[in-house]
Structures are given as C-alpha cells and as structure tokens.
C-alpha cells in the first residue's frame, strides 16, 4: 500500500461519518446548505440575511410567512380574507383527487391556499400586500388566489393604498380548469380600477413567476421589480425546447434577461427590497403644494415629507448601482 492509497483509504473511511454528521445538522435545521454554491451557513445567520447566501448571493426560497416578516413592520400585519378556502368545482381527479391534494398541502403548509393577503406598514407606510406561496401546489392560481388578490386590490383602491404583490407561481391551477384561467382577467380588471384611481401597484417577481401569473398581474405593475436570477417567463422552458428542438441560452427567462429586454424596472436584492419599496412608495405619495402646508397644523406633515426627501436622496445614489452590480 502506497502512501497515496493510505490517504485515499483514510479519506474513504472518514467520509461517511462526516457525511452523517453533516446530514444530521442539516436535518436539525441548524445549518442550511446553499443549493447554488453548496456552502453551509448557520440557519439563523441565513435568516438574518433574509435567506440570501452571503457567499454567492443566491436567493433561497422563502415562504409567505417569512416574506411578510421581512417586509412588514412588526405588529402591524393585518391579514384579510383568511377564511376564503378552496373547493373542488370540477370534481377533478388526475392520479390523485384534487380534494386530497388540497388537504395534503393544507396540512403541510398550514395555509388554506397559495396566497396570503393583508395590510400593514412598510417602513411606516401603509400598504396592501399579497404574498404568493410556492409551497402550496407550486403557487398555482385558482379561484381562491384570484378572489383574495381581487379583494386585496379592491380594498387598496377603496382605501387609496399602494398594492404590492410578491409573485411566485407556476401559473394557472389546472385542477380548477377554466375558472383558473378567468382569474387572470378578473385580477386584471381589478388592477384597471386601481390604476384609474391613480394608485401605485408594484409586483415583485420572485423565483419562479410563470404562465398565467406572468400573463396577468405580474406584468401589470406601474413599476416591476425582480429578485436576482429568478426564473420569469410565459411559456415553460421545456415546452420551448421541445417545440424548437434546441437548447436555450442559460440566462433565458431570468430576471437579468427580462431587465435586458425591458420588461422589469430593476433587479433588487432581497436584502434591499424593503428599503427600495419604501423609497419608491414615498416617491409616489401625492405631492402637497406649499399652500396646503401652511401654519402649524401642517408642520408634522411637512416634517414627514422632508424626511422622505432626504431618505430618497440618500437612496437614489445607492439602489441603482446595487441593482446593476447584481445584473
């Protein structure tokens, strides 16, 4: 046995133990492995960094609960329409009945369906927020997603609120057939009214945003933001590859690709998302002409506006540069 073999054997005999050790720690949830670069990070550190790998900037998937925590000021989140639950209108059954599928996902995620909606403060600014949850049937859009988003947008229109929707979806939910497809129109109609009221709507496209969601509310933002390297598209990559019988470029249908072709306004790192949203919203607050801001009763408001101005100025020099670095 050469020295080299000895080292090789030693490595072999050690590795299973090390592996088991690693696996247990990952299983315990203490450590999380980055699916992109493979680096292990202490989960609490990763969470503190909003599930963005500090090594390679990969954005790990976050569920709707975490997303709300990341964006909404503590103790200000008020969920709405939580009681809206899916039914099985077509009595759909593929390899498994839709009813069973729904129940399984509900047990697994503790959600009723693939979206959470509500209101809250984002850096002190009131918003109507919808967050899709990819864990629930791939974030697919059926009647409940459509209804809850529609009610959220209508609420935003009535209350004069900015609407933000965090998109993450495989598209329309086939198990509800045409009812799912029609949700695209229904939500777009609600957005038309929100727009008519000159209110701001910002969708944030996260990995993945595809199909019927892309072909409706994801692409209807006054301003459209995307997380780095998210997959965003209308038709599935595999479908296109099959029809064309050729391999597609690696960056096809990424956030960067969409930015390059003019379909998103900026790519924003998750660690900058809340700040960026706050700045954009405050930039779009109706400007109060000075004559309305006379005397002492308006001093508070004046102060408020001034604050935002300084903040915006400060941010304006930062955010764009960061987004270009990432792209």
């Amino acid at each position: 046995m050469s020295l080299f073999d000895w080292f090789a054997n030693r490595a072999k005999s050690e590795s299973p133990m090390q592996q088991r050790h690693q696996e247990r720690e990952i299983a315990d949830g203490l450590w999380t492995k980055c699916p992109s670069c493979g680096v292990l990070t202490y989960t609490k550190d990763l969470q503190a960094n909003l599930m963005v790998c500090s090594e390679c900037n990969h954005h790990l998937r976050v569920d709707s609960e975490e997303r709300i925590q990341q964006l909404i000021d503590p103790q200000t989140w008020k969920p709405i329409n939580e009681e809206v639950e899916p039914v099985d209108p077509l009595e759909f059954r593929d390899r498994k009945p839709y009813k069973d599928r729904l129940r399984d996902y509900q047990n697994k995620t503790h959600l009723k369906d693939a979206v959470q909606t509500g209101t809250g403060l984002l850096d002190g600014l009131p918003v109507a927020l919808g967050v899709m949850d990819f864990r629930f049937m791939g974030g697919s859009m059926g009647s409940v997603v459509g209804e809850k988003l529609c009610r959220l947008i209508e609420y935003g229109t009535n209350e004069g609120l900015t609407v933000i929707i965090i998109c993450a979806s495989g598209g329309a939910r086939m198990q509800e057939g045409m009812l799912s497809l029609m949700q695209m129109a229904k939500i777009s109609g609600a957005l038309e009214r929100h727009r008519e009221a000159n209110l701001l709507y910002i969708p944030v496209l996260t990995h993945p945003t595809t199909g019927g969601v892309t072909a409706s509310f994801a692409m209807l933002g006054d301003i459209i933001l995307a997380e780095p390297k998210a997959m965003i598209g209308f038709a599935g990559r595999r479908v296109i590859e099959q029809t064309l019988r050729e391999k597609l470029p690696d960056d096809f249908q990424t956030s960067e690709y969409l930015l390059h072709h003019g379909f998103v306004d900026a790519i924003v790192s998750r660690t900058q998302l809340k700040k960026t949203l706050a700045n954009l919203i405050s930039l779009h607050q109706p400007f109060y002409p000075v004559r309305h801001l006379q005397q002492s009763d308006s001093q508070e408001l004046n102060h408020h506006t001034m604050n935002h101005h300084t903040m915006n100025h400060h941010q304006a020099t930062q955010t764009p540069i960061q987004s270009f670095e990432q792209s």
Binding site: M174, G177, L179
Partner: protein, 322 residues
C-alpha cells in the same frame, strides 16, 4: 390538382358508411330502373338518426377534434361571410405584423365595427405562414391597437377566438408574450364600446384570453375553451401524454361545461355535422347572434357596460368562506 381530402373523423365513419351505401343503392336503382324511393327514404331517416345520436353524445375529446377540424371555418371566413364591407388593417406599430392574428374595420348589417381574431391556415402552407393560429406578442399588440381604434371611434369590438395557445418560442419570450397578453386583459376592461368575444374553434389558454375579455362570451357548440391543452395537462398531471382523452373530460372544456361554470353567456348551434359541413349557415347563425347581442348592449351607457363587464368577471370563481 390533387384530390381534395375528406378529413373524416373516426366517430363519423359509421355515418359515412351508411351514407355511401345509400348512394350506391340509389345509383344501382337508377341503372336498373327500379323504384326504391321508399327504402331510400327509410335509410336516410336512419342516417339522420345516427347523425343525431353521434353528434349529441360527443365526448369532450371528440369535440376537441371537431374544434380543430382542418376544414372548420376560420376568423377570416366568418368575417368575409358576415360583413358587407371589410378592410383589413395591418401591424402593431412597434415592429411587426402577425399573420396569426388578423383584424380590421368592417360593416355588420349597417353598423361599423372592428373585427379581429386568431387566424389558422387553410392548408399546410398557409398554416406555416400563420403559425397555426398561435399569435406572437406583436399579434396581441396589433389587437389592442385595433381595439383602441374601435374605442376612439365608437365602434363595437367583435373578437373571434381560435388558437391552440399563444406562441411559445424564444422570440415571443424576448418580446414579452406575458406582458402583451396581460396588457390586453387590463385594457379591455377600460373600453367604453361593447365587446363581444366568440370562441369559434379552439380556445387555448392565455393566448385565447388575450383577446377574450368581453361584455358577453359566446361559443359555438363544438368549440372548446381550455386552461391548458388536454395534451399538456395529461403530460403534466398524469405524466402520460396518452391520457389526453381523460384530461379533456376532467378539464371541463365544452360550451355546456363553461355555461354551467358561469363563464359562458350563450351557446351557438352549429349545422348538423359541425360548422365545417356548412360554413355559410354557421356564419348566418353567428351574424344573427352577434347582432342581437349588440342591440342589447348598445341600449346601455358606457358606464353601465363597463360596470357589468367588471361584475361579470368579478363573479367567476368558486370557493367557500366560513
């Protein structure tokens, strides 16, 4: 010239056999100078019965075959058959003119209208040029340009849906297929003029919906409207593309299904054996129904129409709220 193909569908075969037998008997009788008119009348009655049996109990998969029938009248066939005047308009005014989505100004029984729709080809060569009715972003942008035109001049908008789906290709993604469709969905809610959308053949998913927001949705009895093609659905949910027949049933894609789901407003009857058996009769039905609906919608104010259009879609969906 090549012999015209008959495009016989499987389920039509028994009917066709019977019909050709009747023809044979008639010829034989004529040659031999025998009067068989009683027997022929009896057989023809039988054929009619068989025809009704077959066409009244079509499975969703069979209806899909009819909806995709190569001889089925297309958007341009209907437009040309229905309108007294027709002037096709071209181009999205950005960079393209999509042959898979056509439109223009027309006169329908005296009323100036804008008509537009997906256009499938009439033969293989035409189909390649028309991309089998699968529109590109430029097609949807042309459509919205024509609709804006209609809205500006107070012309009702008539759209005709007949597509397997929006084109899924690299160029389409690059040009923003999702954005093009999404934009149309939102804008169609803003128009003051009446909008009637008719599914004349295949209503394929987002590509169909992209010109499909209307005050009323109409559909021919053998047309289908799907969230995803049954083939794609079978491949994804059953992991087996051969289960498309099952998927077609499960997805609820027929006019009657959609009426029950509260999506469809009116089912248009087709000539016996389908619209392709008598395109002019089908166009006659379509024209009458469009006129009736337009007359009703024109009684309303723009505000009322917009409100009802909104409420129509607002009410679609099934869920429970404790």
């Amino acid at each position: 010239m090549s012999k015209p193909r008959s495009f016989l569908l499987d389920f039509e075969k028994p009917l066709c056999e019977l019909e050709s037998r009747i023809e044979q008997i008639r010829e034989l009788a004529q040659e031999n100078n025998v009067d068989v008119s009683d027997q022929i009348a009896e057989l023809e009655e039988k054929a009619e019965q068989l025809r009704q049996e077959i066409f009244s109990s079509l499975t969703p998969a069979q209806r899909l075959q009819l909806a995709r029938h190569p001889r089925r009248p297309s958007t341009l066939d209907y437009i040309q058959a229905m309108s007294e005047e027709w002037f096709e308009l071209h181009g999205d005014r950005h960079s393209s003119d999509d042959p898979a989505l056509v439109g223009g100004v027309a006169r329908l029984d005296g009323i100036p209208v804008v008509m537009l729709g997906h256009q499938k080809g009439r033969d293989t060569k035409d189909n390649v040029a028309r991309n089998f009715g699968m529109a590109s972003p430029g097609g949807y942008r042309k459509a919205i340009r024509l609709m804006e035109h209609a809205n500006r001049f107070g012309m009702p908008i008539l759209t005709f849906i007949d597509t397997p789906g929006a084109w899924a290709g690299v160029e389409a993604e690059k040009q923003g297929q999702g954005e093009a469709i999404a934009f149309n969905l939102r804008e169609m809610f803003s128009f003051d003029v009446p909008i009637l959308s008719t599914v004349i053949g295949e209503g394929g998913s987002g590509g169909a919906l992209g010109i499909g927001v209307g005050d009323r949705i109409l559909m021919f009895e053998h047309a289908v409207y799907t969230v995803a093609t049954p083939e794609a659905c079978a491949a994804i949910l059953w992991k087996d593309a051969s289960k498309s027949g099952q998927a077609a049933s499960a997805l609820k894609i027929t006019a009657w299904d959609l009426k029950e789901l509260g999506i469809l407003d009116q089912i248009l009857p087709e000539p016996s054996r389908g619209a392709h058996a008598d395109p002019l009769a089908a166009a006659g039905v379509l024209k009458t129904v469009l006129k009736e609906n337009l007359e009703e919608l024109m009684q309303l104010t723009p505000g009322q129409r917009k409100e009802r259009r909104y409420q129509k879609y607002r009410a679609i969906g099934q869920f429970q709220a404790a």
